[in-house]
């Protein structure tokens, strides 16, 4: 009698967990890809841990705090390693809706991954999309900070160069203008050479000096 009941229970359980059954999810693990040499073998103990993690996730859902490990059924374990699982209700006559299981797994995905040293890609729940972590978004974008620093440095350097250029220009303008003043003074002073003012000796107009007679007039032409 007891054996009959046992067979009945396992038969029902077998019906509940089938590939492509209602509310069943496929899981794929790529342990060798993730861990390489440190890969562990997938055995019934690991399956027990998986069932425990799924039960833990379901217990976090309101109204499902009484989920136990034996409510989680695993089947069709392949050497890939992949298998199907369902979560049954406390009376174990039907499975919990897929939406609930999905949201529970999504909430606790990180804990489940860490229990197996895997990540979202190597521990894959088919048809349960993982929530992707957004890239860190600081309040002030970093590039503006660096831009501001370099912009200020270049602006200050430019201002310094322009100001020193203006100073040099002013100094140069004062320099030649001082020289020009002394030249003007030279011109204003009338130099006297041998009692005759220099202006008179100015040959600009092309004046002929009367005191000097050309040779031609002295000699009588032949």
């Amino acid at each position: 009698m007891l054996w009959l009941l046992f067979f009945l229970v396992t038969a029902i359980r077998a019906d509940l967990c089938q590939p492509d059954a209602e509310n069943a999810f496929k899981v794929r693990l790529s342990i060798r890809t993730a861990l390489g040499d440190k890969a562990y073998a997938w055995d019934t103990n690991e399956e027990y841990l998986f069932k425990a993690m799924v039960a833990f996730s379901m217990r976090k859902v309101p109204n499902r705090e009484t989920t136990e490990i034996f409510h989680v059924l695993l089947c069709n374990v392949t050497q890939r390693v992949s298998f199907w699982f369902v979560v049954t209700n406390p009376s174990r006559n039907h499975t919990l809706p897929a939406v609930e299981v999905q949201s529970a797994i999504r909430m606790n995905r990180n804990r489940i991954n860490n229990a197996f040293f895997l990540n979202d890609q190597t521990l894959e729940f088919v048809r349960i999309p993982s929530t992707l972590a957004p890239p860190p978004d600081p309040t002030v974008p970093i590039w503006i900070i660096i831009f501001g620093v370099i912009f200020c440095i270049v602006l200050v350097a430019t201002m310094l160069l322009i100001l020193s250029g203006i100073q040099q220009h002013r100094r140069k303008n004062k320099g030649p203008s001082e020289m020009e003043d002394t030249e003007d003074k030279c011109e204003n002073v009338i130099t006297i050479e041998n009692g005759i003012p220099c202006d008179a000796l100015d040959m600009k107009g092309g004046h002929i000096n009367d005191t000097f007679v050309t040779e031609d007039e002295r000699l009588t032409p032949l």
């Binding site: 050497q79 890939r80 999309p129 957004p134 831009f147 912009f151 430019t158 160069l161 250029g165 030649p176």
Partner: protein, 592 residues
């Protein structure tokens, strides 16, 4: 008391200025592409031939003219012949166009540089969509680096007609770029001469660091082997020779007037022949060096993508057939595929359409040039390296140095004729003229930061300088050889430097180089005429890739205006001089 012309403090500053101007972004992003397209190692043959036959003679000619005439481009060509000052004006106009759009590249380099200080690099991950279950669709279809370039940096519009608004982030970077350029040219040769030590030498430091890093990357040898395997059949392809000639021509920066401007600040006794040979050899060697670095990075990227593709296929097969994890590797993939095809034919045929054929060759063959290479391909390789922030900062710092070095030459080409002109320099000091030029260029350059700005950038990049420069250099060579007189120029050079002119230079200037330029000119004209309508690549956000579109009429009008405004200067100014002389002669006739 006449104000002495400012001079370079040492001849080394002049050499560094020329190197810093000639070695620019084209060496990094154009030469590796040409090498890949036209036969790898065998492209070096036409390249070296063109360097010796075209590059060195024309470079020597420009430096000699500048050093002899001791004025900027307008004054120098006016001295050669009063009817030819139009050549100088055309050079200034082309330099003006170039500086307008070239500094936008520096702005983009600044943008990427500032974004390199984050972990993870912003172009290595796609941003998440609204409910955080997946990535933004545009980023999924394209790649994260393409998304960051087209959406975050350019915010590109689907076509050139939709201009959109000015994007404030690239606009800020552009203002910063112009401020940096102004800082460097503020004091003329005094400040430029010191800056060129950095802009000429530091890029080499970074390239050497990258060479060592690149050669030690996994898969670098694949890229190098691919590049250097010569495909000798390309030697008979005329396009290889034409592209080699074009690359040498534009890489040295001939015809813009910058080289004349730099050489005008030389001592008259400077040995510019030696400097011309040095600068052209260094420029070409840098191109080859940069392409070694680029190809080792290509090899790394291609190998990485190939291995990711293989891993995706392996994962697909492992999941579909529930094979043991780790059983399928790259080495047994083909055998297992055959086994699965025979053992489970129905299941295999269902999976088969999704299995991509991964090929290292096809990854290596994706040849890219220009901004695509610098900002998409390189960043994709960098994000997969360890300590990617460091490599990213180094790389964009190098791009900035190369770009600013070239900008110094461009602005010198505009400023030297302006400061030489007595009219302008009597009203305004040098700093104010430089400031006004930078301000004008910056204001116009803001047009390139609009949403359609990248399309206008491509127009300027492809059409503003190409035809005009060929014409300018042709007129320059013919003018010096036949108008001014080759023997007269030769004797003046000998008097100036103390060295006789080698027969080789005379042969090149007189015959070979002008013929080469004429053939290049004819080729480009016929190419433009044969292709008919001009097309451009537009980014389609829905598909996540580039699509080809035709230019609208107003864009074609702008292209025509660009080419015409510089080339027409030469005949127009000649005509104008002729008319003014005639009027003056006619006006003074009654007096005589």
């Amino acid at each position: 008391m006449e104000q002495r012309r400012p001079l370079w403090a040492t001849p080394l500053q002049f050499v560094f200025a020329c190197i810093s101007y000639a070695v620019g972004l084209g060496n990094v992003w154009r030469f590796p592409y040409l090498c890949q397209m036209y036969g790898g190692g065998s492209f070096l043959v036409p390249y070296v031939v063109m360097l010796v036959v075209e590059g060195m003679p024309l470079l020597y000619l420009e430096l000699a003219v500048g050093q002899r005439m001791r004025q900027g481009s307008i004054g120098a060509w006016r001295t050669v012949s009063p009817y030819l000052s139009g050549v100088g004006v055309a050079s200034v106009v082309v330099s003006f166009f170039l500086s307008m759009y070239y500094n936008v590249i520096n702005a983009w380099a600044f943008w990427y540089l500032f974004h390199s200080f984050q972990d993870p690099l912003p172009w290595s991950v796609c941003p998440l969509n609204g409910n955080r279950t997946g990535y933004v669709e545009e980023c999924e279809k394209a790649s994260s680096t393409q998304y960051f370039w087209y959406r975050k940096t350019l915010n590109i519009s689907p076509s050139i007609q939709e201009s959109g608004a000015v994007q404030w982030e690239p606009a800020l970077c552009l203002i910063l770029a112009w401020l940096v350029v102004y800082l460097c040219i503020l004091r003329g040769t005094e400040s430029t001469g010191k800056v060129v030590y950095f802009t000429a030498l530091l890029p080499y430091c970074v390239l050497i660091i990258y060479l060592v890093r690149g050669l030690t990357l996994h898969g670098a040898t694949n890229g190098l082997a691919y590049m250097f395997t010569p495909k000798v059949e390309q030697l008979v392809n005329p396009k290889a020779w034409i592209n080699a000639a074009t690359q040498i021509f534009f890489s040295l920066g001939l015809g813009f007037g910058s080289l004349i401007a730099f050489a005008s600040y030389n001592e008259p006794s400077n040995n510019c022949q030696k400097h011309a040979i040095i600068v052209s050899i260094i420029n070409s060697s840098t191109s080859i060096f940069a392409s070694i670095v680029t190809f080792s990075i290509y090899g790394f990227k291609a190998t990485f993508n190939y291995e990711s593709c293989l891993n995706k296929v392996i994962l697909l097969l492992t999941n579909s057939f529930d094979l043991e994890d780790g059983f399928l590797t790259a080495s047994n993939l083909e055998q297992v595929k055959d086994y699965l095809a025979s053992a489970h034919p129905s299941k295999y045929s269902k999976v088969f359409p999704q299995i991509r054929n991964c090929s290292l060759e096809s990854e290596l063959e994706t040849a890219v040039q220009g901004t695509g290479l610098a900002f998409i391909v390189y960043t994709e390789a960098i994000k997969n390296m360890e300590v990617s922030q460091l490599w990213s900062v180094l790389y964009f710092f190098m791009l900035l140095l190369l770009g600013i070095g070239s900008m110094l030459g461009n602005t010198a080409a505009i400023l030297t004729p302006l400061t030489d002109s007595k009219v302008i320099s009597s009203y305004l000091p040098k700093e104010a003229i430089s400031g006004l030029v930078c301000l004008t260029n910056c204001a116009i350059g803001l047009l390139f930061t609009m949403e359609a700005g990248s399309y206008w950038f491509d127009i300027f990049n492809d059409y503003a300088a190409t035809l005009s420069l060929l014409l300018i250099v042709l007129v320059e060579t013919v003018a010096v050889c036949y108008l001014y007189g080759l023997s007269r120029f030769e004797s003046e050079l000998k008097a100036m430097t103390g060295r006789a002119l080698n027969w080789y230079w005379k042969a090149m200037w007189g015959g070979v180089s002008p013929l080469l330029i004429v053939s290049l000119f004819i080729f480009y004209l016929s190419d433009y005429i044969i292709t008919g309508t001009l097309r451009y690549q537009a980014w389609d956000a829905a598909q996540g890739q580039l699509v080809t579109k035709d230019y609208p009429p107003h864009a074609l009008a702008v292209i025509g205006l660009l080419v015409a405004s510089s080339t027409m200067c030469i005949p127009l100014v000649a005509l104008g001089t002729f008319i003014t002389r005639r009027l003056r002669r006619g006006g003074t006739a009654p007096v005589a």
